[in-house]
Point group: C2
Chain length 213, copies 2
DNA sequence: GTCTATACATGGATAGAC
DNA sequence: GTCTATCCATGTATAGAC
């Protein structure tokens, strides 16, 4: 049956991508783990690139409506407090992905991080194309929180913030290993997020602008 | 002659890696652009992974001594000011790479960003293995600037900062394109750095710590 | 020592049989 | 709709020419 095959491919790909990254996972690995023919990936998804999007879509379709909800219920605040509120409002739906699947949050953020850095903008286009309204909602909330910061400066800070997040998620396994070896800390994904939120909030809310070098 | 061949390979690889990324550049592209035999890369560098390190080494060997110099001459300051000073002290040697080669800074940071995200920790090990003392010097200067922040918290912030930097550099071409389309700004690499420094400095210097979610 | 030619295993993709 | 057989490109390794 087609649906079983498709689902089995996504399941297998999800596990393998999260574990070893997108580029290091071969189609042959995916299809043998899923017990389907090598060509089925191409048949059902068109290409390997589309496959990673399908894997992520399953999570995005749970995540984004929750983010929309959060944005609606949010009472806007100004300044650092508002940014903090917004980021924590984002963190909660993210952590709720653990309900979708055991370890769902970690799998999702690793997929996101690795996919974002390895797929050369394809993923960015996919997200903007399919969840653009949610992103726009986040942005306008940010503008309300920081009315004094010009749009182009906000653009920069947002990308730096995304960079911190994506990079941390892509290398979260390495971060966990280092933290364990050097600081005897057992790190879970919510710990990474908990450290990340104040860092990013602080950077975004800064009152000074860029200066010439 | 060997030296010519080696240098020609590095030149060709440098241009191609910076332009289209590490993973998207094939050995055959490199060797035909360099007008050398396909097998020479393996002969001279052992593997493609080693090649990207050789490309970066040419820049690191110019950059890192300048960073060492900067660290020696730096008069330590505390708090946000000290962090700012440190980051700007890093930015200048980085921009001096333009003297090494036309557009050197941009090529280097793009190589660094793309290599870092695509090479799964190999690059991190390479940097720590070859320039570990310089990194350690930077870290201790950071500890002096922020004595109240515990080592593990500093560890997190440093990685978030690296994430902002690496991600921005890896996607600097996309950022430049977006900035031009949406904000009619012609962005050069020093503009990215100029915006990045206060963002990162602010995040690193934050006085609040992670809270539980 | 360098370099060339070439072989090999594996990657993703596809045309066509069923 | 599904799968087999096959295609072409890739990174790597090696044998042998200069």
């Amino acid at each position: 049956m087609s649906k079983q095959t498709k689902a089995r491919i996504i399941d297998a790909a999800e596990a393998l991508f999260a574990e070893q990254g997108y580029g290091q996972t071969s189609m042959r690995e995916i299809t043998s783990k899923a017990n389907v023919n090598l060509a089925s990936v191409n048949y059902h998804f068109g290409s390997k690139k589309n496959l990673i999007q399908a894997v992520l879509k399953r999570y995005f379709d749970v995540l984004m409506p929750q983010v929309d909800d959060m944005l609606e219920k949010l009472i806007p605040s100004q300044g650092r407090k508002g940014v903090d509120q917004l980021l924590q409002g984002l963190a909660l739906p993210l952590l709720h992905l653990n309900a979708v699947q055991p370890n769902g949050t970690e799998i999702f953020v690793q997929l996101l991080g690795k996919g974002y850095t390895e797929s050369q903008g394809h993923l960015r286009k996919f997200i903007l194309g399919n969840y653009g309204e949610t992103i726009e909602g986040l942005l306008s909330m940010l503008r309300i929180a920081l009315p004094a910061i010009p749009a182009d400066e906000l653009f920069w800070r947002l990308h730096f913030a995304i960079g911190s997040f994506v990079f941390s998620m892509a290398s979260s396994q390495a971060l966990k290993d280092i933290a364990k070896a050097d600081y005897q800390q057992d790190i879970e994904i919510q710990d990474v997020i908990a450290h990340l939120v104040p860092f990013v909030a602080q950077g975004i809310s800064a009152e000074g602008y860029a200066r010439e070098l």
